[in-house]
Symmetry: C2
């Protein structure tokens, strides 16, 4: 499984053959097919591994979504994204070819969006963010943040540049900046110092 994820990350899902995977893990293709019904089953297993890890990360930050905890989970998320880059890079290709995967991921996405929105609401509650002034402004902000997180790696690959995860983090905080209260700015400053 780790062998196939490695190859998917390096060459892209469609460019990895069953022969490649078998060779990588030092078994025959026949043997590989014995353990996984077809290529889709291998992908499914890789995705399950990934989804489990992601849920763990989301869960950790949801307990107390203050700036400090959020900030500490952002970098691990981008490292996670690199470890499963095959998915984020080929996400359109994969969801088109495997409708079941698409459905599962859509549900995952919904939870992700809602947890971002919950983090915003929590920090409005603590007085770190201004109450919503323009209707739906925070829904749009949550949507933007989600897009930045999910498509950060793709944009990097497309532009052919290598960026530190911290640049992603700073760009996202920059979106939140204008909504910080005086108290929020202080909390933010101490949160990112650590």
């Amino acid at each position: 499984m780790l062998g196939s994820i490695k190859l998917f990350n390096e060459n892209g899902f469609v460019n990895v053959t069953l022969r490649d995977i078998a060779k990588e893990v030092s078994i025959s293709t026949g043997n590989l097919s014995y353990h996984y019904k077809n290529k889709g089953a291998i992908l499914q297993a890789a995705y399950q591994r990934m989804a489990q890890e992601l849920n763990g990360m989301l869960g950790a930050v949801q307990i107390i979504p203050n700036f400090k905890n959020i900030n500490e989970q952002v970098l691990p998320f981008f490292e996670f994204q690199v470890r499963y880059s095959f998915f984020y890079v080929d996400i359109l290709e994969l969801t088109r070819a495997y409708p079941d995967l698409a459905k599962t991921y859509q549900a995952q996405t919904q939870r992700f969006l809602e947890s971002i929105k919950a983090m915003i609401d929590y920090n409005v509650g603590t007085g770190n963010l201004f109450p919503e002034r323009i209707p739906q402004a925070y829904d749009k902000l949550a949507h933007t943040i989600w897009m930045m997180m999910v498509f950060w790696l793709p944009q990097q690959k497309v532009r052919g540049i290598v960026q530190d995860g911290r640049q992603a983090r700073d760009t996202i905080w920059n979106l939140i900046g204008p909504y910080l209260t005086e108290k929020g700015r202080n909390v933010y400053r101490t949160a990112i110092k650590a």
Copy 2:
């Protein structure tokens, strides 16, 4: 050419065979191969058509990048994106398989980013946007806007939803909102009214 773009949009580049294209435009595959050296050449031609159209749009708004002109070009851009959805949906796959295309598109991207930044600077100059208070805040904002524009269609496809281009436009304006001066808010209100 339009026939191949249609098929690429519907099924994705990798899922369209030379036979499919030949059938779509009612010629033989042999004939198709006579006119285009290989599949990459067909893609190249499709991309050139697309790039030309995009440059026209960027040029139109660059002349006077006030809110009215920007706002009027945003919706056409998202319609353009639908017309060439094969590119935006398969962008990672395509740039990986065709390094020449990747290079060309990276230059295109650079121009796109710079023109967004120029629009921001222009509106700081007219007093519609506050001068930059936090260093690089506007570079990050430009980057975010670019990502929203380029990955809007992909995020729609991944989530399996259909959205109006106006939602994309509103989400982008929502990013700019916090930086509007009093004057800028008035200009914006009259600009979007038309």
